[in-house]
């Protein structure tokens, strides 16, 4: 028997605190990005390099999100417990949002620095394939009506997608190495030349984005619970229309 938590339950209070912490730390991170962190060299894009404080944390959190999808998918297939399915679904949605952010911020930086919006290198291509895979995952969830079946089908895609991405990464890596076209791209994190203030800014930004991620995940899971309860109530009303006549 599940009862809906009232609006002021400890759970929703915790989510609210998490949200406040997330937004305060994002504000701090933004100030750090523009005030504390020094401007990068022209080779790294100068002012534009500040986009990395958003780009790299987004990428890491996208990976985290899809790792959560993978683990929860396995847990769901083993236990058949709805909470794993809901967590996997929520993490996939947020992971797609963060991956989209990565795919938008990357080219904005690359255009002036590399001279091109896009390069088919291993990291870019596997990120794009990752995005496509989990967009497919969300489509599959949307196009299936029976919830327990949806969870089962989606879990398989969540698992397969996670195995595919390393193969894509390495295959494209070989592909590019065998056919060098255009300028070679240095690993963006390798020669970033971050000094002390920049490193501190980066880790504050990473923490801020992680809090934001946790908050969004908690919100999305709670929304999922509420949807489940609404569906339960609806099913109950449909099942017993005579027992509960509409008041006039």
């Amino acid at each position: 028997m599940s009862t809906s938590p009232p609006a002021s339950s400890p759970q929703s209070k915790a989510v609210a605190y998490l949200g406040t912490a997330a937004w305060v730390s994002v504000a701090i991170a933004v100030v750090m990005m523009f005030v504390v962190a020094r401007e990068a060299t022209d080779a790294m894009g100068g002012q534009l390099q500040r986009i990395f404080y958003v780009h790299v944390p987004s990428a890491w959190l996208a990976y985290l999100a899809f790792a959560i999808v993978f683990i929860c998918s396995i847990a769901y297939l083993r236990t058949n417990a709805r909470r794993w399915d809901l967590l996997a679904h929520s993490a996939a949605e947020i992971g797609v949002v963060f991956t989209t952010l990565v795919l938008i911020t990357g080219p904005i930086w690359a255009r002036p620095v590399w001279g091109t919006w896009w390069q088919w290198d291993a990291r870019l291509t596997s990120t794009l394939v990752l995005w496509l895979t989990y967009v497919g995952y969300l489509f599959l969830r949307g196009l299936s009506s029976d919830p327990s079946r949806t969870g089962r089908l989606a879990a398989i895609v969540g698992i397969v997608g996670f195995f595919d991405v390393p193969i894509v990464h390495y295959s494209v890596n070989w592909w590019r190495t065998l056919h060098p076209l255009g300028p070679t791209i240095a690993d963006p994190t390798r020669d970033s030349g971050l000094g002390g203030p920049e490193l501190i800014t980066f880790f504050i930004s990473l923490s801020a984005f992680t809090l934001l991620f946790a908050w969004l995940l908690a919100l999305r899971v709670r929304l999922g619970h509420l949807e489940d309860q609404a569906a339960e109530v609806e099913a109950w009303e449909d099942a017993a229309p005579a027992a509960a006549p509409a008041p006039t």
Partner: protein
Amino acid sequence: MNEAGWLHKSALLVRKDLRVEARGRDTLPPMLAFAFAVTLLLAFTLPGSTRLAAPVSVPGGTVAVVDVVSGFLWITVLFAGLIGFARTFEVEREEGAIDSLLLVPLDRSGLFAAKAVANLAYIAAVQGVLLPTFALFFALDLGASWFVLVLVTILVDLGFVAVGTLFASLAAQTRSRELILPILALPALVPVFIAAVELTSDLFVGGGLDAVATRGWFGVLIAFDVVFMTIGALAFEFAID
């Protein structure tokens, strides 16, 4: 369950699927017609065979238009395959026989293997027609390296049918069956088709295989085949209910 039983029952299921196909002809002829129509369109859109081999300058060097033919070949194989694989469980669904199929005293991995082998037969039949057609239309000179093409084709097909069969079984249980299969399968199949194009593009211009490159790409194909045949066999227990 003993191994002989598993093999025997899977083989029976394959025979059943191929017999249904031989009588109904619902899957293979549309795949062939599609593949042939695409080849025809490509033949019209690409320059004539004499100009195919002529070098064209691009940033960073020169290429011949014939370099893209292997890409077209594999894209045609991919799309024709997905059209056919989308019908993996269609016969059972139309006739309401899924439950009887699931009652077969056979591990789900056996069912996966049977469906994958039937799909393998379809895609191999399509390729049997498509490869000579491509060679004819685009004046490809395969020379002595035709056996490499056959080897690549076999390795591509194993991974392709593993992914295609698994995702087709998922797609069959959703509202828009034909729509969801390519959305799921295309991103997953990126490595196989990059490897296929890389391994075969040089063959079409009469070149041999670069030993180092070849080893890497065969490695990608074999790794993909092993990973996805294993995942498919394991996941099928949950894919079909």
